[in-house]
Symmetry: C2
Subunit: 253 residues, 2 copies
């Protein structure tokens, strides 16, 4: 990367370094390549370790770098396009569903969930936990909340617990006619359980997609799905296949 | 917030503090209320300033706190739902468009944009800059790239520059029949120009929505919109009005 010294600039020093590093990544490094260690990089660019770390964190946030314990910092592949829009108008567990049921519990819903479901806080809700795999990697963890009243026929006899129970709950849910759904995506941070499933550290930035499934004029199920923000681009719309991973970075130049 | 001392726990200390603070924010604080200063907070919870800051940064990332110079740390209002899905099947600048044209330039497109537009890198592209306001606040900044070939009738005579020029370009674009669009949302960081427009610091986490507008069998326009991740929830789907701002936090309890 040469031995460029950074002149003092109006923008924060780490930000200027981030831009310089971005250009270096595009021109000199290949996907998966391991970067020199922090001390060497700091020396080469004539910046303090703290400044370098800020710039590296920035590039990790932008999905350009991956930092893994034991491996070091590597150049990240382009983010994977993960379709969200195409899941619309289908019940969870039907058709081309990319989700794998993990388990299912019956418990009181968290206050915000009970509110969204318009159920009494005390009413037990089936909580189906699912994982979404793409190219063999876990890209999302989901909690799917289904009030007992949405699956009245469900019996405890068949599939009392685990993934089989989860599938039984989804089968019952599919008896209802889906009238529509509505979703929102926002920035969140990975909670301990999700972080573990997604191979991230707690607090890592994630994209949280909340989907409300409407049937019989009410919310029959509520999905809270946590996607890895470092490896995923959520695609929606007609076909949702937009291929300009680098647009945000490019705008800096 | 009492004088709770945190026992050592398996999860990172700042993460446990984050959970404790989240509960305190829900039970004891109101939106807009200013938190005690860092020294007092650190003393009350018996943690180091660094640990406290980590927890506060986490809560800011989750949209629970706002930190503004001169004001201090305040309890953030729930994120605003900003409809993305409803913009589908409409050209920019038509109908219920929440965007305001700022200016328009004619220049070579960045490489990734030229690639997405399937134009030659050297072909000049109209770049319309727009801002999206919600409740009087700027929530997004957009760069809309329109190849000259998409607006062949555009003359330099009417509206040579500025917002008027931008509107003229959009009017010409609307002559084409929109065949569909496809979008993707991903995590990014605010670049200097966007940061200024959105009243954020460079590097602040943002949600970048890329939309490809299709007409005459090709990409007639490309939008790269940068949304504030701290104040916005992007809604899409049938009506896109999901109201469970706290779901991610709730899952931690």
């Amino acid at each position: 990367m040469g031995t460029t010294q950074l002149e003092s600039v109006s923008e924060p020093k780490y930000w200027h370094l981030r831009t310089v590093l971005t250009e270096a990544l595009e021109s000199e490094f290949t996907v998966g390549e391991i970067l020199p260690n922090e001390r060497d990089l700091a020396a080469r660019f004539g910046v303090a370790r703290a400044t370098l770390r800020q710039a590296l964190e920035q590039l990790e946030l932008e999905g350009r770098l991956q930092r893994r314990r034991g491996v070091g910092t590597t150049v990240a592949p382009p983010r994977m396009g993960v379709a969200v829009g195409t899941e619309q108008h289908a019940w969870p567990g039907t058709g081309e569903d990319a989700w794998q049921a993990v388990d299912c519990t019956l418990a009181e819903a968290p206050a915000a969930v009970a509110e969204a479901l318009e159920t009494e806080r005390a009413e037990p809700v089936h909580t189906v936990r699912r994982t979404r795999m793409t190219h063999g990697q876990p890209v999302a963890a989901e909690l799917l909340y289904i009030p007992q009243s949405s699956v009245p026929e469900l019996t405890a006899i068949d599939a009392p617990h685990g993934a089989a129970r989860a599938r039984a709950v989804l089968r019952e849910l599919q008896r209802l006619e889906l009238e529509g759904n509505e979703s929102a995506v926002e920035l969140g941070s990975a909670h301990a359980d999700d972080a573990k499933e997604l191979d991230r550290l707690p607090g890592a930035p994630v994209l949280v997609v909340t989907t409300r499934f409407l049937a019989a004029g009410r919310t029959a199920a509520l999905s809270v799905a946590t996607y890895r923000a470092d490896t995923c681009r959520l695609t929606f719309g007609d076909s949702g296949n937009v291929e300009i991973h680098q647009a945000p970075e490019q705008r800096a130049s």
